[in-house]
Symmetry: C4
Subunit: 219 residues, 4 copies
């Protein structure tokens, strides 16, 4: 986990990092409409993007600052902004995985991959990846390992995913992500860079899965 002093310049830097990451997510197609988001944790603070706004246009002043329990310490200057709907889901990864950052993506590749998932121990479905170099980008996995990405059912409200996401994090100790059927994915990492690169690897793996299916190359 990232640990550096929470100086004013450092806070502004993290807020800038969140904005830059959100712009990158939009470019990648992970945050079209107003979906997607990211949260970063420091020694004693958690920073989150707001909810329901165009992620490619977020400014540092739009970022929420919370304490480690998830209580808002400083709301954005713009009083119309609401805290990310993903807040309890981000908090689950911080609490249960000691994450340094958590992101939420509506990646089309992931959503299509959830449609190709196979049954696992209820209530889960699973997407399995093996024999692909990009698996090495995920913590604890080598080229010859199988990466199993759990899929939980979607709910009408994002916050209603909290219980099942928390349970999935506990039931699947080898994963750094949980996918949500027809919705997207939550990916955490030791810091923002790792969360982002791990999300990129998973996206790549999902795209290979879809392409193999299209090319008739799956078992």
């Amino acid at each position: 986990m990232n640990s550096f002093p929470v100086a004013k310049s450092a806070i502004y830097s993290i807020k800038h990092q969140i904005c830059a990451l959100c712009r990158g997510f939009y470019q990648q197609g992970w945050a079209s409409g107003t979906g997607g988001g990211i949260s970063i944790r420091t020694q004693d603070r958690i920073f989150m993007a707001p909810s329901g706004v165009e992620k490619e246009k977020i400014e540092p002043d739009d970022i929420f600052e919370l304490d480690l329990d998830g209580s808002v310490l400083q709301a954005p200057v713009n009083k119309d902004l609401r805290l990310s709907e993903c807040a309890p889901l981000f908090m689950a990864a911080y609490e249960l995985r000691s994450a340094g950052a958590v992101l939420h993506s509506h990646s089309l590749q992931v959503v299509l991959a959830t449609m190709l998932a196979t049954p696992a121990a209820p209530p889960y479905r699973v997407i399995e990846f093996s024999e692909l170099e990009m698996i090495k980008g995920l913590p604890g996995h080598g080229y010859h390992d199988t990466f199993r990405l759990p899929v939980i059912p979607n709910t009408a409200r994002e916050r209603d995913l909290t219980a099942s996401l928390r349970q999935a994090i506990l039931d699947w100790p080898d994963t750094c992500a949980v996918a949500v059927q027809n919705h997207g994915i939550y990916v955490w990492g030791a810091n923002a860079s790792k969360a982002k690169t791990q999300a990129e690897c998973i996206d790549y793996l999902c795209q290979v899965l879809i392409e193999k299916r299209r090319l008739g190359l799956h078992q």
Copy 2:
């Protein structure tokens, strides 16, 4: 609907917004060739992009300024520019839906989706989307709702779409958009941001539909 004073600086700001949105549309593939466009309404003015020009190169001085009835108050500096062919279609959304902004896109995803549309009450075809998180980005729709996008037949001249688009807006009260067979889509919203993000959601939904068809995942 957006309501702020129509000060000179505000007008210039809206014109800049239209240019920025058009550049974004071009990046998204919604305005290649010279297709696509957007219009924004304020308290007492309507602003529209010109017709038949490269949308990614529009400048604020190229924007038409109209009154709320659609009469041109100020034409662009460049006298070779003509008002958007979509003008009567944009006006239909302003009049019948109290829209704050209306956009027109030639998105390939939407065009392909119109080819996958199914028959509805004549003269309409319809594209139906359900069980996808991105449906939540459309006003009045939750995850478990079905979004029905009406499709009207195309005509040789854009202005000849006016009557059928107006009728579609009346016949389909739950939609924020009307697709045109083999042509594209008109999307409106309470303001430019909403029109754009709603268009992104529809694009995403169309892309899922197409991909599901390619993967053999449709009913």
Copy 3:
């Protein structure tokens, strides 16, 4: 055809335009490797990009300046640069169609579409497009017209295409472009903007053709 004084500032402006267009082509995937290029004609000059270089890195000083017969008046500062291999092909469009600009693209969409072409009067194959709004972006074509894009066989050297391209331009008076099997396309227009937007329309039409084939929507 563009007609403005060939002042030094105007020449520099056209050279800049060629560089900007080449960067755009590279972004679009039309000029990867070192393929693709564009030429612009004024009242008494023709300007051409060099051959075999990364198109996204071309500078104004790399542009060749020729007279209307295609003789080089001013070679680039960098003596290692050679005139575009497409020169005789560009000259064909200037001579036979009074074009203001001609571009060459290795667009993947076009190359795949040439593989879906059907036989026409020998030696031609043809790709036909109908009932698509983007056909209106091509000169002389309305929504209900059919755009017929002729395809000529490829040759080992670009210059060896000259005779068949010239003949195709004469045999197909309604087209603004000639495709080359497994290679790409030559598109001309009254000026650089039209050449570019017409190329974008053709690219879009080819992509629809390919997607319809993938979705099983073709006759």
Copy 4:
């Protein structure tokens, strides 16, 4: 091979070139996660990107400087950075092909193409390309030639590929690249521009192969 004085400004320029190329690779999808990389050789130095970092964020101070035998002369300012895992593989191309630059890409197009490879003399598989203009972008190949891209099996550690990559370079004298099953590709060239443009051509060729398979156009 590039040969110019190894002046301090030239070194900084090469380091900048590596950073710019890595950013380009990331844009192309060749270096998502932390995959991919590039190395450039001068008269008496070899420069390499570091391992396991986001390639689009590399700075000139992150580049390793080595002598022609591959020994590190100057490590980056940031002591946490490690030399690229690809180092012995890059050195193989320098030694066996007198390359001026070598790149490594995790291109999805290449990875999918390796899944469509056919058996060759063991231990190799091969991907064959013919009758495509872009083949001309590869050294020693004309339009009517067949480009044969050898594929070697992947290993758990990148360095364990060294022996088989060296052997492939010796066994396939006509290629400027070796693909690695389910992993990616190593491409070399006389200089960085050629390595990059040749990689773009191979990527394009792989994409055509995949698309032809999807369209049912393969033999």
